[in-house]
Assembly symmetry: C2
Homo-oligomer: 311 residues x 2
């Protein structure tokens, strides 16, 4: 039976892990948060849905407790913790030559960072529209539905691609195999690179941000830079689709009442994922000679605010 690890078992990791476990697979949740892992070990994972609350038993470990090898490792840590997690998995000998290491994290450039540690042919990329919440240690909240798209990072395909897709679909995660997962990853990253830093810096909900009459003028040049950087890297993004997707988030009936996750990270004193969004755009832009002043300014501002709020 395939052995699956969820490395980074917060809200999303918990959700993906429990759905796969409920489909009958052998799943281990791995996380650095001791209280969370201890809680799951002692009481099981507490699941809250719109209808009811229940517990499921699921294996949970701290990185130093890893004692198995996995066929599939799904990385769902915060972006800045992912390399340390892969190092920990590597040191624990949890990664075999055939292991598929799949990142489903937000942001750009993960495959390049991972490729410094494991061969690129073992790296798979996924982008998801699922969301989840964390109510406290050992407690996750499930709302709404979503989809997953996945592809091997080098663009190739092997038996594992199909196998992972089957696992996800057995777990009711609505997965498809993509032939251009980068387009989806960059589209999601564009949305996050626009709304996350702007709403965080301005301390506004998505809808409040949109009420400024020149909101579109603020958004356009940020997207244009991302499209230009992507183009220089051989990836064609559709500007109109991107701005439409962003503006579709504005209404109160859509995501308007929410602060983006970066807002929560910042004001709770955590580091944000800015370096994996706008900061990565700036890095890519420098490498290929594309100017990214807007993304650079946003990156600096968030780093400035991290200094204010860090604990």
């Amino acid at each position: 039976m395939v052995k699956i690890a969820i490395a980074g078992a917060g809200a999303m990791g918990g959700r993906v892990g429990m759905q796969i476990a409920e489909a009958g697979y052998d799943v281990t949740l791995i996380d650095y948060w001791t209280e969370h892992i201890t809680n799951i070990q002692q009481h099981g994972l507490n699941i809250q849905t719109e209808k009811d609350t229940y517990h499921i038993n699921i294996k949970a470990q701290l990185p130093e407790q890893i004692d198995e090898q996995y066929d599939l490792i799904i990385i769902l840590t915060k972006a800045m913790d992912s390399e340390a997690m892969i190092e920990a998995l590597n040191e624990a000998n949890a990664i075999k030559e055939t292991t598929a290491v799949l990142t489903m994290m937000n942001g750009l450039g993960h495959e390049e960072r991972f490729a410094k540690i494991i061969p690129k042919s073992q790296i798979f990329l996924a982008v998801t529209m699922w969301t989840a919440g964390l109510r406290g240690p050992g407690q996750i909240l499930l709302e709404g539905t979503g989809t997953i798209e996945l592809q091997r990072a080098d663009g190739g395909e092997d038996y594992r691609t199909e196998a992972i897709n089957t696992i996800f679909n057995n777990a009711k995660l609505n997965s498809t195999i993509s032939d251009n997962v980068f387009e989806s990853i960059w589209s999601k990253a564009t949305l996050n690179s626009v709304l996350n830093p702007l709403c965080t810096i301005l301390d506004k909900t998505i809808n409040q941000f949109s009420l400024y009459e020149q909101a579109r003028q603020m958004v356009i040049p940020i997207i244009e830079e991302i499209v230009a950087v992507a183009h220089a890297r051989g990836l064609e993004l559709n500007f109109e689709n991107l701005i439409n997707k962003i503006e579709a988030a504005y209404p109160i009936e859509s995501q308007g009442l929410h602060y983006p996750s970066m807002h929560q990270d910042l004001y709770k004193g955590r580091l944000t994922e800015i370096d994996y969004l706008n900061g990565q755009i700036v890095t890519y832009g420098k490498a290929c000679g594309v100017a990214t002043p807007h993304n650079e300014m946003l990156t600096h501002m968030i780093h400035q605010l991290e200094l204010t709020y860090k604990k």
Copy 2:
């Protein structure tokens, strides 16, 4: 005897007006703030210095009470109120053909806006390093020293330039006649266009802003845009001087502990002067084909925050 009006009699207007009045000139303070004017009319202007507190009697009027013609009108309103003030003076027939209308306000482009109302040969520009505080209606606080530089807006000179300079020096305001007042105005506006919006958006003192290790990387492109716009308009600014002046404000012994005035304006729910600083740079940049993404982003962000804090 020359008749002098101070149009906009807040902290700076109050200070300049009282110093000129104390030198023996006929000075009228004009302001839109009823409580302030009434207080000065009833009790005189209350002056607080580092050493003592005293009152001086000085004529004070609301714009609708104007009943004289002036030889010199010094505009020290908030930038956005200045045109309304000149219209009010014009309607009250307070401006003669020989009247010198001198702006000592922060920001750029005042002479162009004024020139729509009065001939450019009547417009004088001054830049000052004096500061002042307002303790409440009718109460001003005098600290520190400063200088004034002045020039006729069209670059020409006439008997009035020398006369105004003499008045200022009699009033111990350390004035000199400049042959390039625009350089000084733009230098001060650059300092304000960098530190005002950044410290306001980030809610940081000048020193706190400077503690970010990439503060210089944030500042450089904003200055570069201003230098490029000035150059396109035929004005040469020295980049090194500008950044040195900005960084000289960082230490706690310098201006480090202060929030720029825009910070106070914003969080008290007032409109800021952003459109006369970064916003004017953007407008000029568009007119002469110079890209100003950083200044544009800062302008938008401050306008976004004005929506949050406006009363």
